[in-house]
Amino acid sequence: MTYLSFFKSELKLVIRRKQDIVNSLVFFLMIVTLFPLGVNPSSSFLEPAAGGIIWCSTTLAILMSVETMFKEDFHDGSLEQLVISGLYLPFLILLKLTVQWLAVLLPLLILSPLFSSMLFLPWSILSVLIFTLLLGSPALFLIGTIGAALTLSLRRGAVLMLLIILPFYLPVIIFATGAITAAQTGQDYMGQLAILAAISLAALALSPGMAAISIKASIN
C-alpha cells in the first residue's frame, strides 16, 4: 500500500457510495426547511437567523458523515491493515478525512446559493457564508474524526460521539454565525474569519495524531 493507492481507493469508495452524499444533502435540505415550517417563514425571522440555521444544518450533516467514517473499515478489517501497513497513520487519516470533506463540502457549496435564497440571505452575504464554510468546516471534520475514532468500536456509539464532540463545535459555530451576522449589519467580519482559520489550523495540527492514538486503542 502507498499513500497514493490509499487515496485513490478512498476516492473510489466515495464515488461508489453516492447515495450517502445525496442523503447528507437531503438531510441538510430538510433541516433548512424545518425552521420556516416549525417557527416562522417570514423574512424578518429567517434573514437574521439564516447564518445560524445554515451552520446548524452544516454541523449536523458533517456529524452524520463523520460518524460512519471508520465504521466500515473497522468491521471489514481494513482498519487493522492500515495500522500495520508501516505507513504513517495520522497522514492516512488526514487523506481519508480530506476525501470526506470534499465529498460533503463541494455539493454544499454548490447548493449554498439555493439555501441562502430559501432563507432570504442577501446575495452580498453569500460570499461571507461560503468563506465561513470553507474556513470552519475543516475544524468540524477534524474534531469530529477524533470522536469517530474514539467510539468506533461501540455498537451504539453515535450518541456518545455527539455528546463528546458538540461542545468543541461551539466556538466554530459562534464565530461562523458571528461573521455572517456582522456582515449582515455592515460590520467588519475579518476577525471572525481569521479565528475560524486559526481554529481549523490548530485542529489540523492536533486531530490526526489524536485520532491515530484513538484508533490504535480501539481496534483491539
Binding site: T151, P171, G178, M210
Partner: protein
C-alpha cells in the same frame, strides 16, 4: 527542583499509603473550614448594599464554580501526563475527579440560577459565566460517559485521556468564544463580585469556603482513587496485604 515527588505520585502503592494517612485529615479540615465559612457568610456577614441578602449565595456559587473549572484543569493536565509519561495513576485520577467536577458544575449552575431570580428576575440568563459553566458540565458528562462506555479498562482509560486533553486545549477557546458571543448579545451585566470594595467581613468567609471546598475535593478524590485502586489492583499482593491487614 526535586521531581522525585512527581514520580512517587505515579506509584499506586505509594499513593495508597499516602492517602491512607492524609486524606481523612484533609477531608475533615476542609469540611470544617467550609462550614465555618458558610455559617459566617450566611448568618454573620453584613448585607450587601446593592443586592441585600441574596448576594450570600456567592458563598456557594463562587467556590463551586472555581472548583468546577479547577477540576477540569487538573483533569486535562492529568491527561497530558498520561500521554507523555504514561503514568498509571493519571487515568485513575481522571475517573475519580470527573464526577466531583460535574457535581460542582451543577451546584454552580443551580446556585447561579437561585441568585439570578431575585437579581435579574429570571431563573436562567445566557450570560458568559453561566453559559461557560454549562458547557463545562457537558464536557464533564462527556468524560464520564466515555469512561463508562467501554468494558475494557485500557481502552476506556485511553479514550478518557484523549478526550480530556482535547477538552483542555479547547477550554480556553470555548471560554473566549462564549465571552465574545456574550458581548454581542447582552448588555454588560454588573460584575458579579466587586472585589476590592468587598469588606473583610465579606471576603474572609468566602476565602474559607473556597479553601474548604478545595480541601474537601482533594479528600474525596483521594478516597475515590483508593477505591479505584482496590478494584484495579485486586490481583496484586500489596493490595491483598492491605485488605487483610486493615480489614477494609
Amino acid at each position: 527542583m526535586n521531581w522525585i515527588w512527581f514520580h512517587k505520585l505515579g506509584s499506586p502503592k505509594w499513593f495508597f499509603h499516602w492517602a491512607d494517612r492524609w486524606s481523612k485529615l484533609i477531608f475533615i479540615f476542609g469540611v470544617s473550614l467550609f462550614l465555618l465559612g458558610i455559617i459566617w457568610g450566611l448568618v454573620f456577614a453584613p448585607e450587601d448594599y446593592q443586592q441585600g441578602n441574596s448576594f450570600r449565595i456567592i458563598y456557594i456559587h463562587v467556590p463551586s464554580a472555581m472548583l468546577a473549572q479547577s477540576c477540569y484543569l487538573a483533569l486535562g493536565i492529568s491527561g497530558i501526563v498520561s500521554l507523555v509519561w504514561q503514568m498509571k495513576m493519571a487515568p485513575i485520577f481522571i475517573k475519580s475527579v470527573a464526577p466531583i467536577g460535574a457535581v460542582m458544575a451543577i451546584i454552580a449552575l443551580l446556585s447561579g440560577a437561585i441568585w439570578g431570580k431575585p437579581t435579574w428576575g429570571t431563573w436562567w440568563v445566557w450570560d458568559a459565566r453561566l453559559t461557560s459553566v454549562l458547557v463545562l458540565f457537558i464536557l464533564y458528562m462527556g468524560v464520564i460517559a466515555i469512561q463508562n462506555s467501554f468494558d475494557d479498562t485500557r481502552l476506556s482509560d485511553k479514550a478518557a485521556v484523549v478526550i480530556s486533553v482535547v477538552g483542555l486545549i479547547n477550554l480556553p477557546i470555548i471560554k473566549y468564544s462564549v465571552d465574545w458571543w456574550n458581548t454581542l448579545h447582552q448588555p454588560a451585566t454588573f460584575s458579579i463580585i466587586e472585589k476590592p470594595s468587598m469588606p473583610a467581613e465579606m471576603w474572609v468567609p468566602l476565602l474559607f469556603c473556597v479553601v474548604g471546598l478545595y480541601l474537601f475535593t482533594v479528600g474525596v478524590t483521594c478516597w475515590r482513587m483508593q477505591t479505584e485502586l482496590l478494584i484495579r489492583e485486586k490481583r496484586s499482593n500489596w493490595i491483598k496485604a492491605e485488605v487483610l491487614d486493615s480489614g477494609v
